[in-house]
Symmetry: C2
Subunit: 391 residues, 2 copies
């Protein structure tokens, strides 16, 4: 047993040695970060839109405010060891200003921009030599139509900023529709051809403010309605593809100077691995780590942003599957179905305490097992029951 004698770069609460992390946002990611903070005896203070936000209902110390208000962010960061994020919604110019004022931030403004602006990320990753899908940010509708002609319709249109869970992404099959989308030349939209995607995989890398780094296994993500619905760990890809994805994600973390969690999403295509997009915060593709790995992504994020030693990222069982619980059109509330879902052996149920709305992520289920098929079946069944379906 060797002991790494890391010392924290955090400036902890004088009397107790207890650290304070300030997090912008109070959604489910902040809620699960709060669980990790309780375990380690770390204070978490979140910026919430309302006192019904998931992290607030979990009892995280909170301030009501706006991620677009520099005053609110200054108050949030006051006395904290570090400022971090559960979403992408702080305007980059405000992050610049806060950084100039000396507020310690993890990730930095520059690294965070790689998740906030997809066009910036694509251009930067392209310059760094990473393999990407063909893309263009057309200056006008003529350029958009030429891209469609070169690559064929349908094309995918993505908002450079503000998209999530299928919002800000459109499949366009009609030239007329494309023309009208690109009437405004500065609309912040990116064009991508329809790709022959065999699989989508993701890799989580954690990089501490000390530069220490660990990389989680490659996992497969299954999307439905452009929203991540399942995470299958480890990804059923060849070991060379898995290693290449892990290597690329690790290199990206170094190249962009990420701190905290970096999630890198990849497309596996017939032409090889392509980088899709980045997130610089705990990420849906890492929820499986809570029961499925020695160290959860939420605990790692806290360790990393405070400059504490990182934990082991290894899987604790041969197969781990997470299935998201998503609000159904029938409007059922997973909280009402908890009893039935808990009857499924091995189902680790996480509910976010959110008002149910169709298409809204309300929770997730993780199952750890020996083989992927029965493990996935159990997780899917529990999620379906929580969503109000029959087992």
């Amino acid at each position: 047993m060797s002991l790494t004698l890391e010392t924290s770069t955090a400036k902890p609460e004088a009397s107790t040695g207890k650290s304070l992390v300030a997090m912008v946002g109070a959604g489910q990611l902040a809620r699960m970060t709060h669980e990790a903070a309780i375990k380690l005896g770390i204070r978490l203070r979140v910026l919430a839109a309302s006192d019904r936000d998931p992290a607030v209902l979990a009892g995280a110390e909170h301030m009501i405010g706006s991620p677009e208000s520099i005053e609110d962010l200054r108050r949030l960061a006051e006395g904290a060891d570090v400022l971090t994020f559960d979403h992408e919604g702080v305007p980059p110019e405000i992050l610049s200003q806060l950084e100039n004022e000396g507020i310690r931030m993890a990730p930095s403004r520059a690294a965070k921009l790689m998740a906030q602006d997809k066009l910036h990320a694509r251009i930067s990753l392209d310059e760094l030599g990473y393999p990407l899908p063909p893309f263009e940010a057309p200056v006008d509708s003529g350029a958009a139509l030429r891209f469609a002609k070169d690559h064929g319709l349908p094309v995918t249109v993505k908002a450079a900023r503000g998209g999530y869970d299928g919002k800000g992404v459109w499949q366009v099959s009609e030239p007329g529709e494309l023309e009208s989308l690109f009437e405004n030349p500065d609309n912040g939209l990116i064009l991508e051809p329809t790709l022959d995607i065999l699989q989508e995989i993701a890799v989580i890398v954690v990089r501490s403010t000390n530069g220490e780094r660990v990389t989680y296994p490659a996992v497969e993500t299954v999307q439905r309605d452009a929203m991540c619905r399942e995470i299958l760990a480890p990804a059923k890809v060849s070991s060379s593809v898995a290693a290449r994805a892990q290597g690329m994600a690790t290199d990206i973390a170094e190249d962009i100077g990420a701190t905290g969690i970096l999630a890198v999403e990849f497309f596996v295509t017939s032409e090889g691995l392509l980088v899709n997009e980045l997130a610089l915060r705990p990420h849906n593709s890492g929820h499986y780590t809570m029961e499925g790995c020695v160290t959860s992504q939420f605990e790692q994020h806290l360790r990393a942003v405070l400059g504490l030693p990182l934990g082991l990222p290894s899987l604790v069982s041969p197969s781990v599957v997470t299935v998201n619980v998503v609000g159904s059109h029938s409007g059922g509330d997973p909280r009402r179905n908890l009893g039935m879902a808990l009857g499924i052996p091995g189902a680790q149920i996480h509910l976010y305490d959110k008002e149910p709305r169709p298409g809204r992520k309300l929770g997730h289920v993780t199952v750890c097992g020996q083989d992927q098929e029965p493990t996935r079946k159990a997780a899917l069944m529990a999620a379906r029951v929580l969503e109000g379906g029959r087992p």
Copy 2:
């Protein structure tokens, strides 16, 4: 995959289906129950002595009050689905009154008394035919001296009520000392001979208000200064001893009608397995279940007291060791040593956010591994570092 179609006996929050559990006490057991409540989207309301109590600092909904005040307990239970406990400190006569008022309680007053009054527990278990250490509650000092003469000195003297962590337990070697302890005939003290204890083991049983029941593996508990310091799972005892302990614990749960967690502590002696004492609440000997079993004792306790289906109690790795972090005489604060301890690979560190005092439980460390020796070594090292020692 079979699905148990259990229905909850809880009367959940009308609008959301969310349950509310009221817990008397706000120490580390309530704090870790709060972590489980966040996961499941259940509300936990605790009765705290101060707003610096561990569960309050973790953000559990709380009321400041006394466990000896019936008014405070009534307010705590108001609107809750069930009332439960993180300690033994509610006077039995108050529990009777609350039960008569129709407040749902898990465990019941009668079952809880088996943990609150050691003499009552010994007499009841004796009548039920469980093997116990020889014991007596002497009516006067003459009877105490006769017991010492029959069994030899030193003897162990235990307070029937209010003892914990070595408090309320004395080794007595001098007849004069014994005489003075038993001067008052109604002192609530129990005498026990010095036993030839080979090992101490413990078994956790969970019994739901629906009567569903699961039993955890037998674990070894290692005491120092009469306080539990280590939990080694599974216990290194023969499979017949383990099975006998599990069977007895399960039978006791049924016999006394336990609901929620029941922890049964046993002495392994040359004359066989003897029941030492019971706890009817999440228990130190079950902290290893948080990372070491599919379902933690804290989640099980919530499920059980709400009549929700129970989870699997199986170990997730061949060896799991938990070591308590106890305040040292040098007065170091584990929160200051977190960074160094996190450098020990695989150490799962739980800090309770308590002011350090010598002999006070301030946290615990769990390590999951293949073999007991290195697993135990890593957990001991992390605990020692947190206590302010050298690795």
